[in-house]
């Protein structure tokens, strides 16, 4: 038999003609809305960072990058975001793996335990950690009553409490992309590897882990980027020493009313975010990353 021409049958487009523009037009209202409600405000921040106070030019950026305290805030932000990402991966990976090997029904229940916190108020969850960790909080009261300790442990207003709270809040953002990738890995593959003589852990490490890599990248990326911009949690659970860049921006606006510097820092934070995303978008499709969240 001669080789058939490689034409995909039925690949024709459906309902062509004037309809196309009509369908496309449906997207216009939202795009206009987002341009005015979102893009213009973002652009305004960029403008403000070089025009407030008048004729400042790049002055706000110079001030920011030459003040040691400000740079410490930036360093702090990166440090906390990195530790949170590692912590979330360490906790989230085994959890997502467990979800991928248990029966569907159990996985569904495990998913609910991830989705409920994901959609619950970040403020409430932060408040819960404060109630648990503070000097008169749950843990210290318990330990004092049991006479394990005589003085309250310093569990709050330090880097530890910030990382603990943030990791817990960000964990769903790690688990969801991981699970959506692991779910699609054919369990026959690890079985096949075992059948080919791979020892159990080796089969997991050489077959399953590499296949889950897109999920790891997506999850880490998401957690890291979100952690960079965290405001509520580090403000409530941390002290001034744990100030992250978002709190710094808020303080500049609310306390010092220094819009120029605040805007410059906002631009720095935005640029950082986009750089991370741009680098990461070479490895994962961003739509998939965010898609994993809405589809639960």
């Amino acid at each position: 038999m001669s080789a058939p021409v490689a034409v995909k049958e039925g690949a024709g487009r459906v309902m062509r003609g004037p309809l196309i523009s009509r369908w496309g037009a449906l997207a216009v209202p939202l795009l206009l809305f987002l341009t005015f409600a979102f893009l213009v405000p973002m652009f305004l921040i960029v403008v403000r960072s070089v025009t407030d106070p008048v004729n400042i030019g790049m002055g706000n950026y110079v001030t920011f990058f030459t003040t040691e305290a400000n740079m410490r805030v930036l360093g702090n932000t990166f440090y906390i975001a990195t530790v949170c990402t590692v912590a979330c991966l360490a906790i989230g990976y085994p959890y997502a793996y467990l979800m991928s090997i248990v029966p569907q029904r159990v996985a569904g229940i495990m998913l609910v335990f991830v989705l409920v916190p994901f959609w619950s108020s970040l403020l409430v969850r932060t408040f819960a950690w404060e109630v648990i960790l503070r000097d008169t909080g749950l843990i210290n009261t318990l330990l004092l009553n049991l006479k394990v300790i005589s003085e309250p442990l310093p569990l709050i207003r330090n880097t530890f409490s910030v990382i603990l709270g943030m990791s817990q809040i960000l964990l769903p953002f790690m688990v969801l992309p991981l699970y959506s990738v692991m779910q699609k890995i054919d369990p026959e593959l690890t079985r096949a590897a075992a059948n080919l003589g791979a020892p159990p852990f080796s089969a997991f490490r050489r077959v399953f882990v590499p296949l889950s890599f897109p999920g790891i990248t997506a999850g880490c990326l998401l957690v890291f980027v979100l952690a960079l911009g965290f405001y509520i949690t580090p403000t409530i659970l941390g002290s001034a020493r744990e100030t992250m860049i978002s709190r710094f921006i808020a303080d500049q606006v609310q306390v010092r009313v220094n819009w120029g510097l605040a805007s410059a820092m906002a631009v720095v934070l935005m640029v950082l975010t986009f750089v991370v995303l741009a680098v990461a978008s070479r490895f994962v499709k961003l739509r998939d990353v965010y898609g994993a969240l809405g589809e639960g």
């Binding site: 196309i20 523009s21 409600a37 085994p94 409920v116 408040f127 964990l171 809405g294």
Partner: protein, 265 residues
């Protein structure tokens, strides 16, 4: 994987899984009984049982107006976001227009840009139109933040829908509008509804942008709570937190049930 490996590996994983679940939801659950304490402070275990703090919450106009404002904003946001988002998802899936990739990026960008930046940006822009501290301003802000969830949810429904169904409808004599009304819309409705509920939740719990966009005259519940948490913490806050959680859980359950209803071919 061999069975023996699976067995010890699994039991270890299961124990770990339980710990993670406790870690994820335990802290939030701890708050609930604290709001029912008969004592004067936020303590655990709570002392006795009373509805005092709920009573205090209901008699404090800051809380009650915050609750009403939040609810209004969230409902309006859900409606506006689901209409705009559904139209857009259809436009992207079915239509062709230049710059689709950029449009996609724009729609998802409110999820990417740090909320603090969005907060100060929106404030400094909307204040010029006297929109800060108004219902309209808040709905605009929250719609921008929550519309990506609607677009994603509806797009998923559209993708899982069999395009042959629309062709079949046309073949059976339905014009494009009737095909949409009778076939497409009913089939993506669970996605639209779930998207609306997600938009509601996003608005209901949103703090950071709200902090900048509200004024003393118009505050949402999370903003009132944010100010309370940073000052005096009494069990009223636990009561409010419980109300926020309960609403979230109810709406989310509804959303998940609806999502399940999606007719599968």
């Amino acid at each position: 994987m061999t069975d023996s490996f699976r067995r010890w590996n699994r039991s270890l994983l299961v124990v770990f899984g339980v710990f993670v679940i406790v870690f994820l939801i335990g802290p939030s659950i701890v708050i609930v009984p604290m709001g029912f304490t008969a004592g004067q402070s936020l303590s655990f275990p709570p002392v006795g049982f009373s509805l005092n703090w709920y009573g205090k919450m209901l008699s404090d106009p800051a809380w009650t107006s915050g609750f009403i404002n939040s609810f209004q904003v969230a409902v309006c946001t859900a409606v506006v976001a689901s209409v705009l988002g559904t139209m857009t998802a259809l436009g992207i899936a079915r239509g062709r227009f230049p710059g689709k990739t950029i449009a996609n990026a724009l729609i998802l960008s409110p999820l990417v840009v740090p909320v603090i930046v969005i907060g100060i940006g929106m404030f400094s822009f909307f204040v010029r139109f006297k929109l800060s501290g108004t219902l309209v301003g808040m709905v605009i802000a929250h719609t921008a933040l929550s519309v990506p969830y609607v677009v994603v949810s509806v797009s998923t429904s559209l993708r899982s829908m069999d395009r042959n169904l629309e062709m079949a409808a046309a073949n059976l004599g339905a014009n494009p509008w009737r095909t949409f009304r009778r076939i497409t819309l009913p089939l993506i409705m669970p996605g639209v509804f779930a998207g609306a509920l997600f938009a509601f939740l996003e608005s209901w719990d949103e703090v950071v942008v709200s902090i900048f966009m509200t004024t003393t005259k118009f505050r949402t519940l999370p903003v009132v709570m944010w100010e309370q948490v940073r000052q005096v913490v009494d069990p009223t806050v636990a009561a409010v937190a419980t109300v926020l959680l309960a609403t979230t859980t109810t709406v989310l359950t509804l959303a998940l049930v609806v999502r399940r209803q999606t007719p599968v071919r």
